[in-house]
Symmetry: C2
Subunit: 225 residues, 2 copies
């Protein structure tokens, strides 16, 4: 049965990179098979969930043994679209942008940032982590010539909407948005918001519960901005 057409649930897609990372580590350590039980232990999940998730990639395990690491890696990469390099442009070469340019892990995630764009004339012409910083007026031409479909948006929130519009006008249809703003764009543009405040909200609400549990009073906020 071909599962490649099956719809993979979003929560499963979010977990797959974690499996992939672990499997690669095990492979580097010389192992060839791994059980769902073992994966679950390492990642603090339930083994049945790991089996279900791996099932979504089309992998079939061997009872009593587990999953062969190499084909499982390939199956996960294929499911995520990480077997093909997605080339991307980065927008905004500030600290966050520089951090993203320097993150090697993207290569293993099928994302290749090939160049950066910035509106700051001081930055344009420089090279960051081996990638050129280009002026925005070259965007339109280069998107077409290099067949780029994905943009990583690391510009300040106030500039995000405007840059996003330029990017879409140039032909890009996938945006990984690090700016804390909702982008108003045509429906066929794929926007993945990477909203740090959502994660922070989970942390702080858990921590403040933890503080109460420990009988510690939190400091009052001096001046709410």
């Amino acid at each position: 049965m071909d599962k490649s057409q099956t719809i993979v649930p979003f929560p499963t897609i979010r977990r797959l990179p974690g499996y992939l990372r672990l499997l690669r580590q095990c492979q580097a350590a010389g192992r060839t098979v791994i059980s769902a039980t073992h994966i679950a232990e390492e990642l603090a999940l339930e083994s049945i969930q790991v089996r279900k998730d791996l099932g979504c990639t089309g992998m079939i395990g061997k009872p009593r043994v587990g999953f062969e690491i190499e084909p499982t890696i390939a199956a996960i990469e294929s499911t995520l679209g990480w077997n093909c390099a997605t080339q991307a442009f980065l927008f905004g070469a500030g600290h966050l942008g520089t951090a993203l340019l320097g993150y090697d892990g993207f290569a293993r995630s099928g994302l290749k940032i090939v160049a950066a764009f910035d509106s700051d004339p001081q930055l344009v012409g420089t090279t960051i982590n081996g990638k050129q910083v280009l002026p925005l007026n070259r965007l339109h031409d280069l998107v077409r010539r290099m067949h780029i479909y994905v943009a990583v948006l690391a510009v300040p929130a106030v500039a995000a909407q405007q840059v996003a519009e330029q990017v879409v006008a140039a032909g890009i249809f996938g945006i990984w948005n690090f700016a804390p703003t909702m982008l108003a764009l045509p429906d066929d543009v794929i926007v993945q918001n990477e909203d740090l405040s959502a994660g922070l909200a989970l942390l702080t609400s858990r921590v403040s519960a933890g503080l109460k549990g420990r009988g510690i009073a939190a400091a009052a906020l001096p001046s709410p901005a």
Copy 2:
């Protein structure tokens, strides 16, 4: 009925910061009330979901009118624990760490990064965005003296486990982990993983579906690392 004891669902907690941001914008624009319908439109959600979420904060809206913005902001902040400043130490003053140190938005999220730690002697003693970079040997003392409970971990993946152990040993029990590694720590330590690869996985799987839909073939990955 006091809803402050009610358990707020995780998905709701994740959405609350988005409401908060919008409400503050509307407040800054001089508005005093807003309907769930309007919030839903702005954030691309369903109005019933907005009403349910705001209900979790204890807010009661007025039929035909909507929600008063000011008390709603207060209710959300209270639910998230953002009405009290959570002071935190940052670990790892590289590009990502610097980006996090410079992000003003945290102040509005009740998180105040008060200092950074780094193992690099070149960085120790410098000041980044007005925050001192300190050596790790001062950690233990300062955590106790300043009553710090939260750490933001922006160190390389290989160092994350070791730094996390030091941090926990010093008395911290909440960790916002930006390193792509599972931390093995005691159960009572709260770890919030900020895993970029999960978000990237959602983007790439949607994009590769989009590429197929548009009849575009993706470039094969030259050399899988």
